[in-house]
């Protein structure tokens, strides 16, 4: 069975929801500890949401220096899939595993709400979705304003590294309305909204399953040796 590692940090709060979502999707969730570089032979890694190390210095900055991230870096370099969610997005930018940086929301408010995300293009990360489709997934953050300078953003657009954009209101001031990006190789994806909170009808939306299915599909691809 596909094994998905979920990193736990001091200050993480969505690691258990991410593990539960992975199990609901029919895979095995494996807890990874921030201080332990062993990835326990997982096929994919989720860096979940929360406030790792109390958001000290900059959100994600100290977590990016942790032993487990050194191993996640090797896992990513081998072409294996990594998904960063919310604080996980911040960690992956600080680790330079995805481009850009997340800044304080331009309105300085913590926002907790459903957001409509417009699919930018068809991608293995969003199986069954095509350009223009809308996914409704909740967000909850204070520091989710994606920033890259004009040249970097143009390069990301040109390479097709933008997967999702906020549709309608831009809830945090992100440049280009960018909600989800990938690394250049395409195997590391990160977003501020929480797909793991949108996997059951009971809580409003199951659109998060699309992205988690994408992660599992990528995890099941044969490993390049």
């Amino acid at each position: 069975m596909t094994r998905v590692g979920v990193v736990s940090y001091p200050g993480a709060c969505d690691d258990r929801d991410a593990m539960r979502a992975v199990e609901l999707m029919g895979a095995t969730a494996v807890r990874l500890w921030h201080a332990d570089p062993d990835l326990h032979a997982v096929d994919a890694v989720i860096v979940p949401g929360g406030f790792s190390y109390g958001d000290y210095l900059r959100p994600g900055a100290l977590a990016a220096l942790s032993p487990v991230i050194a191993s996640v870096r090797e896992h990513a370099a081998a072409g294996r899939p990594v998904l960063g969610i919310c604080n996980g997005f911040q960690v992956l930018t600080e680790a330079r595993l995805v481009p850009g940086v997340l800044r304080t929301n331009t309105h300085l408010q913590f926002r907790c709400q459903d957001v409509a995300l417009r699919v930018d293009r068809g991608t293995p990360w969003l199986p069954g979705a095509s350009a223009g489709d809308i996914l409704t997934i909740p967000m909850k953050h204070h520091d989710g304003c994606f920033f890259a300078d004009a040249a970097q953003l143009a390069e990301l657009e040109r390479r097709g590294q933008v997967l999702l954009r906020y549709d309608g209101e831009n809830p945090n001031g992100s440049v280009g309305g960018v909600a989800a990006v990938t690394n250049e190789a395409g195997n590391v994806c990160a977003l501020m909204p929480h797909p793991e909170h949108a996997v059951e009808e009971m809580v409003g939306s199951t659109d998060g399953r699309v992205l988690l299915q994408g992660l599992l599909d990528l995890a099941r691809q044969p490993v390049a040796v």
Binding site: L57, E94, G100, T104
Partner: protein, 79 residues
């Protein structure tokens, strides 16, 4: 050696925190504008001379204390 690292938002980068402070200052009637919020780090670097301390602190500032995409830094070496 005592080293101080000053981290500021890069020129031209919007600083919402500084802007919020500026608005409050304006509300109090102060003639202050262009507020930018940054961070100060004081550290002791174990180095034999000021140049070495500056080099080590610069590396720390570049790699950890600042995010070069949005921040710039200055290193001041004291006694």
């Amino acid at each position: 050696m005592n080293v101080t690292v000053l981290v500021r938002p890069r020129d031209g980068i919007l600083d919402p925190q500084g802007e919020a402070v500026r608005r409050s200052l304006a509300g109090l009637g102060y003639p202050a504008s262009g507020v930018r919020a940054g961070k100060v780090f004081d550290l002791q670097v174990d180095a034999g001379d000021a140049d070495t301390a500056r080099r080590i602190a610069g590396e720390i500032a570049e790699r950890v204390l600042s995010n070069p995409l949005i921040e710039q830094y200055e290193v001041e070496v004291g006694g």
